[in-house]
């Protein structure tokens, strides 16, 4: 196992190279670009035997990926923010047409105003698209999750999005342990899948589904992502065993006896952990839950992890204007709603447009969450750091 200093983006590029993809169709956008630049390098030097299509837009990137995936090829693309939004309509097609594409989404705020820095609005806007969504919080996780993504995509025949926070994870150099290519290839063997556009089959794909059929065809994709839950956990276990990791749908830190917890997704988890350690040393029964698999939503695991916790502060790095609460809080509240005993949920919105979320702010969030737990009811969603 090699130990190399890599940025999150480069870690993903190396994972894609080791996965021996057959085709990459991508369009540059900050802060994803160094992934595809690295991959172009690999292709240009013969280190990766793949076709690299310099498409003229992200919409075409995803479209070309669908076409390629239908031939049975292993396919990859990367994007962020506006690019993901531009491919919006095609994402919905990719999931229902069952094309196992892997997309690395380097989270960046959606315009307007124009902003190249990190938040989760881009991926949140696609939570209905039917894609499996993983969230990686470090360069190591970025590498491992991308390798896992290919396996998950091909076994479930659903497209998979690997999210990493823009600049924070994508551009920060961290030590990454990379298994050898042979070990990776035995986890994800490089073989062609069914060629659905073969003249030997002459299938018609992407047909008109009138009212008598649309419902059933859409349900196929709903059922597929529901059933993927168990499969994903099995594959995570296999990966962990093969490569000495400990990945699950969630992480719990100090959750064995936590009274008050913070729920995060992405790189904010790191800061939350540091703050939780400090609070613990002060005698607080603080805990952190981080979500790694966002779609399919790990309702069962979350319910178990949060049982007995008095209150949870949910950190959203995106907003749903006009909605009852922000997206991640909405999902968590929905999954816990049916249980008689459930923690008080305090909502926080922080870090929009790349705004730094400090340890002090985390302590403030913990303190408000604790207040909510003590009083038995949450206050309005707190917009952390917002200047009036």
């Amino acid at each position: 196992m090699a130990r190399v200093g890599l940025s999150g983006n480069y870690a993903i590029a190396y994972a894609v190279k080791m996965a021996d993809v057959d085709l990459i169709a991508a369009y540059p956008i900050t802060p994803q670009t160094t992934i595809v630049e690295k991959l172009s390098d690999f292709v240009a030097n013969g280190e990766l035997n793949a076709e690299y299509i310099n498409v003229e837009s992200e919409h075409s990137a995803m479209s070309a990926c669908i076409g390629a995936s239908l031939t049975g090829a292993r396919v990859f693309t990367a994007t962020s923010s506006q690019g993901l939004a531009y491919m919006h309509e095609v994402l919905f097609m990719a999931s229902v047409l069952r094309t196992p594409i892997v997309l690395a989404n380097v989270n960046r705020a959606l315009s307007a105003p124009l902003n190249i820095w990190n938040d989760h609005s881009d991926a949140m806007a696609e939570r209905d698209s039917g894609w499996i969504q993983f969230w990686a919080s470090s360069a190591q996780e970025a590498f491992d999750t991308t390798v896992l993504a290919f396996k998950v995509a091909e076994e479930t025949r659903l497209p998979v999005m690997v999210n990493i926070d823009g600049f924070i994870v994508s551009h920060t150099y961290e030590p990454v342990e990379m298994p050898g290519e042979d070990a990776i290839r035995s986890f994800i063997p490089s073989k062609a899948m069914l060629n659905r556009v073969s003249p030997r089959l002459s299938y018609s794909t992407g047909v008109v589904g009138p009212p008598e059929y649309y419902y059933e065809m859409k349900y196929q994709a709903v059922d597929a992502i529901e059933r993927s839950r168990e499969r994903i956990r099995e594959m995570q276990a296999t990966y962990n065993k093969a490569f000495g990791r400990d990945y699950g749908d969630t992480y719990g830190y100090f959750m064995e006896d936590a009274d008050y917890a913070l729920l995060t997704m992405g790189s904010m988890t790191g800061t939350a952990r540091v703050v939780a350690e400090k609070l613990r040393s002060q005698g607080e029964k603080a805990g952190v839950v981080s979500i790694r698999t966002y779609r399919p939503f790990p309702s069962d695991i979350l319910e178990r992890l949060l049982r007995g916790v008095k209150s949870v502060g949910v950190m959203d790095r995106a907003v749903t204007p006009g909605g009852p609460v922000s997206p991640l809080l909405a999902d968590l509240a929905s999954c816990l709603y049916g249980f008689a005993e459930r923690p008080v949920l305090q909502g926080f919105v922080a870090g929009l447009g790349g705004r730094d979320v400090t340890e002090d702010e985390f302590e403030m969030m913990y303190s408000k969450t604790k207040d909510a737990g003590k009083s038995g009811h949450a206050g309005q969603t707190v917009y952390v750091g917002l200047r009036e």
């Binding site: 057959d22 310099n54 479209s63 239908l70 031939t71 090829a73 073969s198 003249p199 018609s204």
Partner: protein, 308 residues
């Protein structure tokens, strides 16, 4: 040297567009596609953009395609075709497949001139080995005859209707072949189903050429142009005979007129019985005649017949 289609005996008899599709009675796009697929044969993948042909041939569970067929969206037939072409190349090179296929991207004028132009431009610029066929019925026919940038001058459509303050479409249609040639592609041509051998030979050359090729096919639409259903091929022919639809090809930058018209018909004969042109005043017809004369001069067609 590409296969030549000279007589009916040369034309393959297999039908790759199956009967029972839902295109209108008298649809010349259906005729064109039958002719095209006879040339491309069974080893072909067709990528359709949303439109008349796509919707009428893929209504679950009926498919009119006897070859592999894909539809992903309106914007992206050229992008999807690029993905298929490149993936097959990669798989063949990596010995993961033994198959080689012709890739044809098929879009209507809406899905080519307007919403699909960007993807088409990208695919042509990148040099993918595929054929783009635009079947041009000069409006968004599938959704009820709305104007596109291929709608000709003075044509009435539902979104540029003739009225008290409007003569219909106020601009001339874009020159798709010129746009394609600006991408340095090795082959582009115009065609129409009334001249089947001309069309089939061009499709053959387009498939055989290495790199992107574009065929712009005029496919008169009885429903949208408002003429009797049996006259589709008549109008297809008349468009050529008036000089409004010159049949030519451009191979490696060199233009060749493939159907000469020694004595052109006056455009009046083409326009008069089409419902979409019934509001035309003499000055509008003169304007359209000048355009036909300009095209004739550009492509080397003959003069207009003397009026008896």
């Amino acid at each position: 040297m590409s296969t030549q289609y000279r007589t009916m005996k040369d034309v393959p008899k297999e039908e790759y567009l199956a009967q029972g599709h839902r295109l209108c009675a008298g649809c010349t796009a259906a005729t064109a596609i039958r002719q095209i697929l006879k040339v491309s044969g069974p080893n072909t993948v067709v990528v359709s953009a949303t439109g008349c042909v796509e919707v009428a041939t893929s209504f679950f569970p009926q498919s009119a395609w006897r070859i592999p067929w894909v539809h992903v969206g309106f914007v992206n037939s050229a992008a999807v075709a690029s993905g298929i072409e490149s993936a097959m190349k990669a798989l063949f090179r990596k010995k993961k497949t033994d198959e080689k296929v012709n890739v044809i991207a098929l879009g209507g004028d809406g899905g080519t001139f307007d919403i699909g132009l960007q993807a088409l431009s990208g695919a042509m610029e990148r040099g993918h080995d595929f054929v783009y066929v635009c079947y041009d019925n000069e409006a968004y026919m599938n959704t009820g005859v709305q104007r596109s940038s291929a709608t000709p001058f003075c044509a009435s459509t539902t979104t540029c209707p003739a009225g008290k303050f409007s003569r219909g479409q106020s601009t001339e249609k874009k020159d798709l072949v010129a746009i394609a040639l600006a991408h340095n592609i090795p082959y582009a041509a115009t065609a129409t189903p009334a001249y089947p051998f001309d069309l089939m030979n061009k499709v053959r050359r387009a498939i055989d050429v290495e790199g992107p090729a574009l065929i712009h096919v005029l496919t008169p639409c009885p429903t949208g142009w408002r003429f009797e259903v049996e006259k589709g091929i008549d109008y297809s022919k008349m468009a050529v005979l008036t000089g409004l639809w010159p049949l030519y090809e451009v191979a490696k930058g060199s233009m060749r007129l493939t159907v000469q018209v020694p004595r052109r018909e006056p455009v009046k004969k083409y326009l008069e019985a089409q419902g979409r042109f019934k509001h035309l005043k003499p000055e509008d017809i003169e304007g359209i005649q000048s355009r036909a004369d300009l095209l004739a001069a550009k492509y080397g067609l003959g003069p207009v017949k003397e009026q008896v």
